[in-house]
């Protein structure tokens, strides 16, 4: 897996003296093209919304294995723990970032989190990160932004193998090859990953990262009818097996369980594209994906427990791109989605829940002048299960001169209520027998329980139970960028207003005191801040990159209550006192400051880099009991993580790379259970063809 880095780096070095701007991400965009921002291929330098590209070389030189590894090193992104590893963008929860592979959405979220560790980076050409609401093109979930993984589809015959081995018995093996004829091209990729997992809690049989085995295969088959018409088929299959030793301690009473979790992830895309003439292009995409999860748990007390979840998503989409004159381009698309889910956590594991969505979108891009580009777009989603969503977006880019440009965009994003929020029917017998019911189920079940005398009280929230509405956000992004041969500086101001947030609320007590929760559209929130990236290429060998995000979050209702003097905390004596606005820290688990710094050295077939990541402290628990987060609450400490990596390409096609992640061995048992201590690894890869350069 590292072979590409190395030949790519030597390749880049080799040509950097020939062209003013290499394709190196450090030195700017160059001729890098982006698909995600406009759903059409565009030069990065012409995009009106904040876009970031992570290239293959960057991924490989960082020694990344899983998608979360490389994303965690990007400005303003941080990885969340719980239900897998999710990504938070612009301060929003992982639920609100859409994850795509080659433009098609991944499904299989647990509690709103898509586990990024399911995705290997061994076959990625580039990762495109679009910030700000993009529902005008992509529909649900694209509230904070979109992360699109573009897989590598080699244009020539190749075969390579890559291996890596490191701490915690973590092994990773990639096999990649492609064959090309005049009409047919095929590329295959396979990845095997395994780890023993680790426990940073001393003497614990429970592992914060469990022993995992993953096998991923990807196949791409392309057929060229002629210069105008192409057909392609992509298939990806991922299987993972996770072994869990769980100890549930309830008031000092420990119950040991041994669990086995199997997740299967299958995606298939068939695309037919046709270019009618110079002005009109059309693509039809048929996409089907399935996520299947099975958890089995055997406990000391002999009670076996099975949890199964299956989700399917099928979509047909057609997009037509029309060029009108020199200045105007229209993209018109529409599609139909059929989505189903079934789970042992719903009323009946045999009953399949269905949602059907029809949608249409249009985007127009007007090059008003050499300097000014305007984009307007909108999408309409008609849902079977809940209210329709309308998502408009406006964006502009103004190039003051070849070096300076200004971007501004405003858009609306939405996230449809998921199946869990609608249909969950779950009672946790292992922890106090509390129940969570989806909004469709809640009233029905509670009324029935009430009728047979099983409800002791109904809470005020019960009477607010209603049909769930989509969650909405309005996002504003204003950015500037400066670029010359050595420097590339971008800064982006953002503000997201999120309405209708769905949250769980206590709606009733059963006789005996067990609590019943359900989901309601109850909260509003905002996030705002600035993201800055600075890249500096000192000379052909040395380059530097720094990133910083300042983030403020909060709930306007909380702020109003504070300003009205209705929020209290405690003084040193434990006596209540009014809380002031300055003590409010906003949403939990958000750091006000996040920064990264990278030093990179490239010389011929050798490279070395040092990557530093910083996160300031973040609120974790409301310990003063006032229902919001303020400086009197519990915080996780801020921390610095240092990663190192060096690599070399040998003349015979062999590449070698070694690295250390988390050099300072920083761990936080309570707040960062997913962060292992120091990791040392080594990787070897071999190219059977194309040994020296492209």
């Amino acid at each position: 897996m590292t072979q590409r880095i190395l030949w790519l780096s030597s390749f880049l070095f080799g040509v950097s003296s020939l062209v003013a701007q290499s394709k190196d991400t450090l030195s700017g965009s160059g001729a890098v093209t982006v698909f995600t921002a406009t759903k059409t291929e565009r030069l990065l330098s012409n995009i009106a919304v904040p876009v970031q590209i992570i290239g293959q070389k960057t991924i490989q030189q960082a020694g990344s294995l899983r998608l979360s590894d490389i994303l965690s090193e990007q400005t303003g992104l941080f990885m969340t723990n719980g239900f897998g590893t999710g990504v938070s963008m612009q301060g929003l929860n992982p639920d609100y970032t859409l994850i795509l592979i080659d433009g098609e959405p991944l499904i299989g979220r647990t509690s709103g989190v898509l586990d990024l560790k399911r995705i290997t980076v061994g076959n990625i050409k580039q990762i495109e990160i679009v910030r700000g609401p993009s529902s005008s093109l992509y529909g649900s979930e694209a509230m904070a932004g979109v992360i699109n993984i573009i897989t590598d589809k080699s244009r020539k015959n190749s075969l390579s193998v890559g291996t890596r081995y490191g701490s915690y018995n973590t092994a990773d093996i990639n096999l990649k090859g492609s064959i090309r004829t005049n009409r047919i091209n095929y590329q295959g990729f396979g990845n095997y990953y395994r780890t023993d997992g680790f426990s940073i809690r001393p003497n614990s049989r429970e592992r914060s990262v469990a022993p995992i085995e993953r096998i991923t295969q990807q196949h791409h088959l392309g057929y060229r009818f002629n210069d105008q018409t192409n057909l392609s088929l992509n298939i990806r299959y991922n299987h993972e097996t996770i072994k869990n030793n769980i100890t549930v301690t309830n008031n000092g009473n420990a119950i040991n369980s041994t669990g086995l979790e199997k997740n299967d992830d299958l995606n298939a895309t068939l695309q037919l594209s046709h270019q009618f003439n110079q002005r009109i292009k059309n693509a039809t995409r048929l996409y089907g994906t399935q996520f299947k999860s099975l958890q089995e748990l055997v406990s000391d007390n002999g009670l076996p427990y099975t949890d199964a979840f299956k989700q399917q998503f099928a979509r047909i989409e057609n997009q037509t791109d029309v060029q009108i004159g020199k200045a105007l381009e229209l993209n018109i698309g529409g599609g139909y989605i059929h989505e189903t889910a079934s789970s042992t956590r719903y009323d009946n594991s045999e009953s399949v829940k269905t949602n059907r969505i029809g949608y249409a979108y249009i985007q127009s891009e007007l090059k008003a002048s050499e300097k000014l580009t305007l984009i307007g777009g909108a999408r309409y989603d008609h849902n079977e299960l809940f209210a329709a969503a309308f998502s408009p977006k406006l964006a502009l880019q103004y190039k003051l001169n070849p070096k300076f440009s200004v971007k501004a965009s405003i858009g609306r994003g939405f996230k449809a209520p998921d199946f869990r929020q609608l249909y969950l029917n779950f009672t946790n017998t292992a922890a106090g027998s509390y129940s969570v019911f989806g909004s469709v189920e809640a009233q029905k079940i509670i009324n029935e329980l009430n009728r047979i005398g099983q409800i002791s009280s109904l809470e005020p929230a019960f009477y607010q139970l209603n049909n769930l509405q989509p969650e909405y956000s309005t996002g504003l992004n204003i950015g500037v960028s400066f670029q010359n041969t050595q420097w590339h500086i971008t800064a982006n101001l953002f503000r997201n207003n999120i309405d209708n947030l769905i949250d769980s609320r206590l709606v009733a007590y059963k006789t005996g005191g067990a609590q019943i929760f359900s989901y309601l559209n109850v909260k509003n929130a905002f996030t705002q801040g600035i993201e800055t990236d600075i890249k500096f290429k000192y000379n052909a060998r040395w380059s530097f990159a720094a990133g910083y995000q300042f983030l403020l979050t909060g709930d306007q209702a909380d702020i109003n209550a504070i300003n009205e003097g209705k929020v209290f905390t405690r003084d040193a004596n434990g006596f209540s006192r009014r809380m002031s606005r300055s003590e409010y820290v906003g949403l939990p688990n958000r750091s006000k400051h996040m920064a990264n710094f990278k030093v990179q050295y490239d010389y011929q077939d050798f490279f070395a880099n040092l990557r530093t990541l910083y996160r300031s402290r973040w609120a974790t628990t409301d310990t003063d009991g006032n229902g919001l987060f303020n400086s009197n609450d519990a915080f996780a400490d801020g921390y610095v993580q240092l990663n190192l990596s060096v690599g070399k390409t040998l003349q015979n096609g062999l590449n070698i790379q070694t690295g250390i992640d988390n050099l300072f061995n920083y761990t936080d048992v309570l707040n960062l259970p997913n962060l292992p201590g120091r990791i040392v690894y080594m990787s070897l890869s071999y190219n059977f063809f194309n040994k020296t350069s492209k």
């Binding site: 008031n251 009670l303 017998t429 209540s576 009991g625 006032n626």
Partner: protein, 216 residues
């Protein structure tokens, strides 16, 4: 009953009181802080797994307290007007309704202890209807505490004042300050054993108006 008396005897010796001057206009009413009033502390855990097992339990007895005399009242006097509040776990009973023969009652005032100078004339005092409806509602986030389920800790909600009508129809205001021994909530990282053994010790402050008016 012997066990109960023993528990109470220990509790009396643990209860420490401090008095400080009231800064209000009426210098008669003083504010008293009661520390470490034990309220049916944990003596075991039901064997087995939840929902039937695994739960901590105490002896199941209330600790009766007189706000007027600032003393624990023996359980043998539970059927009298001698007590005003009774504590068991997170439940606080008043000497009213089906909890006791007194004419007590209570409601929860949202605001600061010192800001409550006069009980509003239109206030409604609730009376106990155990076990489903106490004058001071039971349960997390309903009256005086919120339960942090992740860390398994009970946190008193700041800005909540329990306005009490005593057994003899006088008025008092109470602010619960802490639920753990020594008046300090264990750290979230503390062991389960510590969280269990140090809970159910109330620290609270109160003002009692002996002259029967609603002014403090």
């Amino acid at each position: 009953m012997k066990q109960m008396i023993f528990v109470l005897g220990v509790a009396v010796s643990l209860v420490a009181c401090s008095k400080d001057d009231n800064s209000g206009s009426n210098a008669v009413v003083e504010t008293i802080t009661v520390k470490d009033l034990s309220a049916d502390t944990i003596i075991g855990i039901t064997p087995g797994a939840p929902p039937t097992g695994g739960f901590p339990f105490g002896a199941g007895r209330y600790t009766f307290y007189s706000l007027e005399t600032n003393k624990i009242v023996p359980a043998s006097d539970s059927a009298s007007n001698k007590w005003d509040l009774a504590f068991r776990g997170t439940t606080i009973a008043t000497n009213s309704g089906n909890s006791g023969p007194g004419g007590g009652g209570a409601f929860v005032f949202v605001g600061l202890f010192n800001d409550l100078k006069t009980i509003p004339a239109d206030s409604t005092f609730r009376i106990d209807n155990a076990p489903s409806a106490f004058a001071i509602p039971t349960g997390s986030n309903r009256a005086w505490y919120v339960y942090d389920g992740i860390n398994q800790l009970v946190n008193p909600i700041p800005g909540r004042v329990l306005v009490i009508r005593t057994a003899t129809g006088k008025y008092a205001k109470v602010e619960i300050l802490n639920y753990y021994k020594g008046g300090t909530t264990p750290a979230p990282t503390a062991s389960d054993a510590i969280k269990l053994t140090t809970q159910r010790y109330y620290t609270f402050r109160y003002s009692f108006q002996p002259n029967g008016t609603k002014t403090f």
